[in-house]
Amino acid sequence: MGKMPQYGGWAGKVLRVDLSTGRITTEDTVEKYKDYIGGTGLGYKVLWDEVAPETRAFDPENKIVFATGPLAGTSAPCNGRTAITTLWPTCWPKHLVGSGHMGGHFAAELKYAGFDGVIVEGRADHPVWLAIADGKVEIRDARRLWGQGIRRTTLEISRQMGPEAVVAAIGQAGENMVPMSVIINSVSHSGAGGAVMGSKNLKAIGVRGTGSIRIAGNREEWEKAVRYHLSLIGANNQIVVPSSPQPWAEHYNPGSRWVASRGRTWGAANPPIETGSCEPQNLNRIAYRTNNAAFFLGEQAWRYTVRGNGCTGCPIRCHTMIKVPTVASKYGIPEIGQSTCVRMIFGKWFFKSFPDGPLGETSIEAAMVGMHLADDLGLWDNYGQLQRDFQKCYSEGIFQSKVGEKEFRRYSWDKFEKGDPAFLFELLPRIAGKDGELASALGLGTGFMLEGWGISEEAWKSDRTLQYWKLGHPKHHSNEDAGQCGVIINTQYNRDAQCHSHTNFTRNGLPLEIQKRLAADLWGSDAAVDAAGDFTPMNVYKAKMAKWALLRKELHDSISLCNWMGPWSSSPLKERGYKGDDTLESLLYSLVTGDRKSPRELDEVAERIFVLHRALTIRGMGTREMRAKHDTIPDWVYGDDKDRIPFTKGTIQMDKDDIRKAMQMFYEEAGWDKETGVPTGATYRRLGLSDVEEKLAKKRLTA
């Protein structure tokens, strides 16, 4: 027996692979990264220490960091995420730090193989893939895999590593350094950054591990904590009420993703399986609550549903698997598809209409074709911005004016007009292959596409239907879900804000009076939350909620909990008054690692991580005028189709002065300078980031 490691949870080593030299080394996770836990924290730390601010995404000097946290691979619910941190190739006009969050089974397998993370640097001189098996690491030749889709790549690598291997691969899009590309593992679990892998000539990372992760805490206590967490879980997005009246439920909400019910059946399971009433107390039926095919594709998706699928250890199966036999004969693609949310409707969203209506068979076929192509070519949708840009450019004649007649005619626009899914076979492979001006431009991401075509960003920022926010990316749960709090959150990142902490509360389905009661507990006053579309002016509690939401997001992305599912600030339990538990993260982290941290202490680590992200952004932009130049808000937020005025019922429109006040309040809560939006010296020092402050001060980038 070797020396018992001091901490549980962590696998213990971070792998570092220099593809330029072929050098493979490891470092001690706890020794080097414990103050940043893992995940995005680890990624930001590597980028801060090792990647110079003038670096571009596709330079060999850029690094791409795959990192998990101490909860990945355990039975802590919803732990399947791997954070992928790198300079973001769609961040316009300059590539700034960004992170993608890939689910699936990669995180767990990497830990069982002995590593908490993989730092990839340099550039190989020919295509390679990385084989990681139980602590053994090899750079292998990928010339035969180059040019292949993700499905074939995965199968080939699995033949070499064994069927249990988990493969994170890029498709043709990543190989061709199309900025709008992803990395995929476990069929459908994507994280952006595919083009950065491609720029390094890295086709895939295959992992296989038979090792274990030690739970430091007492076994019975751990089991109790896990069961307790499960008892507070709702459906996808931590929605805690069902979508239809249920015998056990006091409330229901038609917008809920808790769609299980008597009479609703996984129709393509053999034999079919009824989801049933799914009482919240029954922990053995959690997996039936969510069906995102039915939620995103409509009621008729029930009959195509094979089952729920998803990440390691997650009882909420948000990747729904559907079987649509007609697509095999019509389009030559597998009859089974699986995905969730925007990637489930990837193909459907390109079209304006379908011959049999928005929820007809054709729309589902379009979704199937889209899922297949996007997950095989490895294309990113930028939270649906790709599809919205496509429709706008087509309908406003931008394509025609920018690409020339000959190229424009290469596309069967009649198929597009008719809503024929076959159109996607013309468009998507061309985006992945940079084939022609139209497809290449779409593959750049919004910011670079507009720049290339000489279109002002303002044109996009003022069009409410586009939902475009800034820096090349759209909004992600903004004012429509949480008023000023959502706006604040959407100013903070260099891609679409991947934060769900706020929406998972405001859209939990509970009546407002219950939400207000819970909010008073969490943020000090019931004034922190409003009903969506019935907003009140800004107050300090909304700023507290915004800060909490952002820190929880970074905490989750660092300890490996899914911020699409958490935090668990409410629960489906009437007997608890629908209260969740905001200390769950501290409980799970402390038990798994043995490093006891109170909720406050853990929040401070989260804040350190979040502020390091801020520092990276400040350094990358080379300005301290963050408020004016980075934390910007598009004009459409301040408008309304029906000219309703802010703070009246029915509008999500915000008020400029009120938002100015909101940003100021948020900066104050965060300990940042009110005028510039940069963290104060005291804040850096409070978080143990004095060295970061010093480096920024030398460049005059501090308050």
């Binding site: 027996m1 691979g73 355990t74 039975s75 089974h105 767990a108 830990k111 069982y112 499905r151 995965t154 199968l155 699995s158 033949r159 069927p163 249990e164 291997a165 988990v166 476990s186 069929v187 591990g209 038979t210 090792g211 274990s212 992760i213 030690r214 739970i215 076994r219 751990w222 089991e223 896990v226 499960l230 399971a269 053999n270 034999p271 399986i273 922990l283 053995n284 039926r285 959690i286 997996a287 039936y288 094979v306 089952r307 729920g308 699928n309 998803g310 990440c311 390691t312 250890g313 997650c314 009882p315 199966r317 698997m321 079987k323 089974i336 699986q338």
Partner: protein, 241 residues
Amino acid sequence: MKALIEADGIVEQVLNVVAPGQPVSRRRVLKLCGATIAGMASWHFFGMGGGISAPLIITEQAGGLVVADPTRCVGCRRCELACTEFNDGKSSPGTARIKVRRNLNFGPAGLYTGQCTDGNWGSGLIVQDFCKQCPHPVPCADACPNAAIEVKPPVNARVVNPDRCTGCKVCLKACPWEMMSFDPETNKATKCFLCEGKPKCVEACPAEALTYVSWVDLTGKVPSRTTPVSNRSVACIDCHK
């Protein structure tokens, strides 16, 4: 032949319980069969740890077993994690006594049929492999050269006695369903012991895909993954003439 000689001693002990004081031929003992010989392997009966040798064969039937419905399995692997975390204090699908991971991507046929028939890359069907708690002959127990696989009350699960296991892995080859695990951290084999009648895997399943039921004989009804071998088959000659 040491095992056989020891076995004679065991048989005598059984007989003293079945028919005290009656001289019985060895052949007759074996004809008593089933319930009579059941109990030969009981830990209580022989007072394991008291210096008495382990039994030659397990004939006592198990009290229960876990059965699985693949159509309900959602591939989350919470069963594997519950098995090793709540029993061993570590997350370790590689040593879990219920096995989903190996079928997760491509199904039980793996990749080698040229098609991905099942699993996440195929039809979606996830087959959970579980210990059948075999009736006599118990392949893993029979194969063990150290008689480390024993029957353990209260549910008579077939259990690895870690004090006897030397980590030779013969049992891993012997199980026709490849349900034995080997833990490189303890250097011991491990297998499903039914959690004393409250299996953690069943409790952990979020899709009601696992059930703990009264023991039924599934051996021979479920396609095996390997061909069983036994290095103690010489000891079976009496029954298997």
